[in-house]
């Protein structure tokens, strides 16, 4: 580990802490439906959209209606993506003349992008036409992110409102977030990326005769516009197979820093917005503190392991950290940091191949997702996932002191705790169930590239990534088979909506409750004790649930590596 490496990590966190309140304030304006300076330009678009689709943005919705409208919108988006991918061969914008996607791949990919997962069973350059990248995928990067933030707003209202029936209007939340937050940032961001060397053209392949006289084909396309929302919306689906390791997606160390910042930016801001919404910004800072502690712990382990490198190679005379699967312009620190950021959030973009990370360096990304991606997390999904853990944490604290638990002025009762457990239980059930199945059936065992414990890690990582809606991969797994496409597609759908529906039910139930002012016996949810409890609950739940599976994969792999045993 180097001083420069730690400088990068601290600079990264410092910039985000400085941006937390401004971003939080902007999000709060959208949460409240206030007018922003951008309304002068985009207000007519917003109103036009409502008029054409017959929406009254002031009509408040109860949690059931909010959920049904959100679900139906997602089903419509799913259908659009599926149609575009299946019809790719006859649609325009296809300079490489690529064919239609197979039904199972289109099914998997449509779910993947609708659920903000962006798992990619395919390599972008050989599969997706320019039109598919734009109309099939870019649009979902925006709308799945906007859906996540809208859902977080709905849960915030559950905590903030008193004896209310409604938790907001889905269409208004989603549209405002798209028009006044995601789109404007992406326009500026895209220009920055183009200036830095990310292509933005409708052309296809350029043939090159290299300096040595060999032929090289270079694929161009509308990369920058997709790259911007891919990071900002914690989507992570790359234009190219190599994702943000590809020089056309992430050409310089500076674009790399900005990409990492843009993964976390909205997630940091939402913690502040939550505090503001419930009337005490210290509530938000407490949540953020717990997240940052978990994040820095993860970065430390991954950076340490990657910098230490592979002892098997050291014995052969190779010096330095683990560079297999990493790009020189980023080096070990910026690659290790990126890996932890992208899995702490539900982004899933990668700037180095996680499959080639050291066993423990690669275990942290896996464990981050298994914790429920609540360390910052996906846009919206991170904070609502975290609040589910907060409900469990006050419940545990309440058991210890023998009082009805309260959180930010709301009594937490049996119904909320049951729903929170229901939502949280989806993760281990689907991850461990599907991984176990794939470890015994032939179609599952055909997937891994690596042998030994690392092969098991590849399967475990795939289902963890799918259920967690992350989308990163131990890429050696051959996932573009009907078996994996179908199972991973289902895992992504369960992981997204089987969490969302109980979460919205909690929002509805909380909104209906009276405000309970904090008394002398209330457990304080702002101080260090609370932060410690949150960290503890998240680690214990995640640790107890997944440690056995980690022992079979990365931990066994690590022990083999230090013994010099190969597979």
């Amino acid at each position: 580990m180097t001083l420069q490496g730690w400088f990068l990590i601290l600079l990264f966190v410092g910039i985000l802490l400085a941006l937390t309140k401004p971003m939080g304030l902007w999000l709060y304006a959208l949460y409240e439906g206030r007018r922003t300076p951008l309304h002068a330009v985009l207000g007519p678009v917003e109103r036009g959209f409502y008029r054409l689709s017959g929406i009254d943005p002031t009509a408040e919705q109860g949690w059931r209606r909010y959920a049904v409208h959100m679900l139906l919108f997602n089903v419509a988006l799913l259908a659009l993506a599926y149609a575009v991918l299946r019809l790719q061969g006859v649609l325009p914008g296809n300079p490489q003349h690529l064919g239609n996607l197979s039904p199972d791949l289109a099914f998997n990919t449509a779910i993947s992008f609708t659920t903000n997962t962006n798992w990619q069973s395919y390599g972008g350059e050989a599969t997706m036409s320019n039109l598919s990248q734009m109309l099939g995928l870019t649009i979902h990067n925006f709308l799945s992110a906007a859906t996540g933030i809208a859902l977080a707003f709905a849960l915030f209202r559950g905590f903030a409102r008193r004896e209310a029936k409604a938790i907001g209007n889905f269409w208004a939340d989603m549209t405002r977030v798209t028009l006044y937050l995601l789109l404007p940032i992406c326009v500026v961001y895209t220009v920055f990326l183009i200036a830095s060397g990310v292509p933005q053209t409708l052309a296809g392949v350029v043939d090159v005769q290299t300096l040595e006289g060999a032929r090289q084909s270079i694929l161009l396309g509308p990369v920058a516009s997709q790259e911007a929302i891919k990071m900002l919306g914690t989507n992570g689906g790359g234009f190219f197979n190599a994702n943000s390791a590809h020089p056309f997606e992430n050409p310089t160390a500076l674009t790399n820093l900005v990409q990492m910042l843009s993964i976390f930016l909205i997630g940091f801001g939402l913690t502040w917005t939550f505090g503001k919404a419930v009337g005490n910004t210290r509530q938000g800072w407490a949540i953020l503190s717990a997240m940052v502690i978990l994040f820095l712990a993860g970065v430390t382990v991954t950076y340490w392991q990657e910098a230490a490198g592979n002892p098997v190679l050291h014995q052969l005379g190779v010096a330095g950290g683990n560079m297999e699967g990493k790009e020189v312009r980023f080096g070990v620190p910026a690659s290790a940091l990126f890996a932890v950021v992208t899995t702490a959030a539900s982004c899933g973009a990668v700037n180095g191949m996680l499959d080639s990370f050291t066993p423990l360096g690669g275990m942290i990304p896996l464990f981050n997702i298994q914790l429920g991606e609540v360390v910052i997390g996906g846009v919206g999904a991170g904070i609502y996932g975290f609040l589910l853990f907060a409900i469990l944490a006050v419940f545990v604290a309440g058991l210890m002191v023998g009082r009805t638990p309260e959180y930010v002025g709301k009594k937490i009762e049996a119904r909320e705790v049951k729903l929170a457990v229901l939502a949280i239980a989806v993760l281990p059930l689907v991850i461990l169930g599907f991984t176990a199945l794939s470890s015994v059936v032939q179609a599952g065992l055909a997937g891994p590239l690596n042998k030994g414990p690392h092969g098991f890690s590849e399967i475990l990582y795939a289902f963890t990534s799918a259920v967690g809606n992350n989308g990163s991969a131990f890429g050696g797994l051959t996932a573009n088979t009907p078996y994996y496409n179908a199972l991973l597609g289902l895992a992504m759908w369960f992981g997204r909506f089987f969490v969302i529906v109980p979460m919205l039910a909690i929002a509805g139930s909380l909104a209906a409750k009276k405000h309970t002012p904090a008394g002398a016996g209330s457990f304080p949810t702002t101080g260090g004790l609370w932060v410690g409890l949150l960290v503890g609950i998240i680690l214990i739940l995640g640790g107890l649930t997944f440690l056995p599976s980690l022992a079979l994969g990365p931990i066994a792999d690590h022990l083999a590596m230090i013994r010099g045993q190969l597979f």
């Binding site: 409208h69 183009i194 933005q200 090159v208 066993p359 890429g475």
Partner: protein, 188 residues
């Protein structure tokens, strides 16, 4: 529930169409127009031309295997530096296939006269398979061979490398191999 469904139907369909037009067509096409107008070089792939011939992209790596040039890293993109098949090896640290491949590459480096500890990037495949760079150490390790084959003074070649080292506080120091080899070709 039924009422919720019927009220959702029209907004779900119409909003999907409207956003598809705005985000799937207007946004990327407008950005393409802006990019082509303001930064045409970068927007079209930062291509490098030698007369009429396109010889590569400054951003993207290409294969160098001749003794006259500084070599780029091993690549897992197709058969090596395939611009249509970016990929890492995805081999894990306990993979026998990985260690065997690296042993072969180490032997090649030793045969080319590289002594001492080998810089890791010289014998490992990058994440993209299209890494345009080398670490300064990996470039310096190739000095003697390039100078010998080109019959150039080693200190001269060393200063060419040193001039190409780029460093920023937010990434690792690196040398763009295409730029370095072009500088090499320019030496008469």
């Amino acid at each position: 529930m039924n009422q919720d469904l019927t009220t959702a139907l029209r907004p779900a369909i119409v909003m999907t169409i409207l956003f598809a037009i705005l985000l799937g067509l207007v946004y990327p096409l407008a950005m393409t127009g802006i990019g082509q107008a303001i930064f045409p070089g970068q927007a079209n792939g930062s291509l490098v031309r030698d007369g009429n011939r396109v010889i590569g992209s400054t951003v993207l790596g290409q294969a160098f295997t001749s003794d006259r040039y500084f070599h780029t890293r091993p690549s897992a993109a197709g058969k090596g530096y395939d611009g249509l098949a970016s990929s890492g090896s995805n081999l894990g640290p306990t993979s026998k296939a990985l260690v065997d491949r690296i042993k072969t590459d180490i032997a090649a480096q030793r045969a080319a006269g590289v002594a001492g500890a080998l810089p890791a990037d010289l014998v490992t495949a990058s994440g993209s398979g299209l890494d345009p760079d080398l670490s300064p150490a990996a470039a310096y390790a190739q000095l003697d061979r390039v100078a010998r084959v080109r019959r150039l003074d080693v200190t001269r070649v060393r200063s060419l490398v040193a001039a190409q080292v780029e460093d920023s506080m937010v990434g690792d120091p690196h040398v763009n191999v295409l730029a370095l080899n072009r500088a090499l070709d320019a030496v008469r």
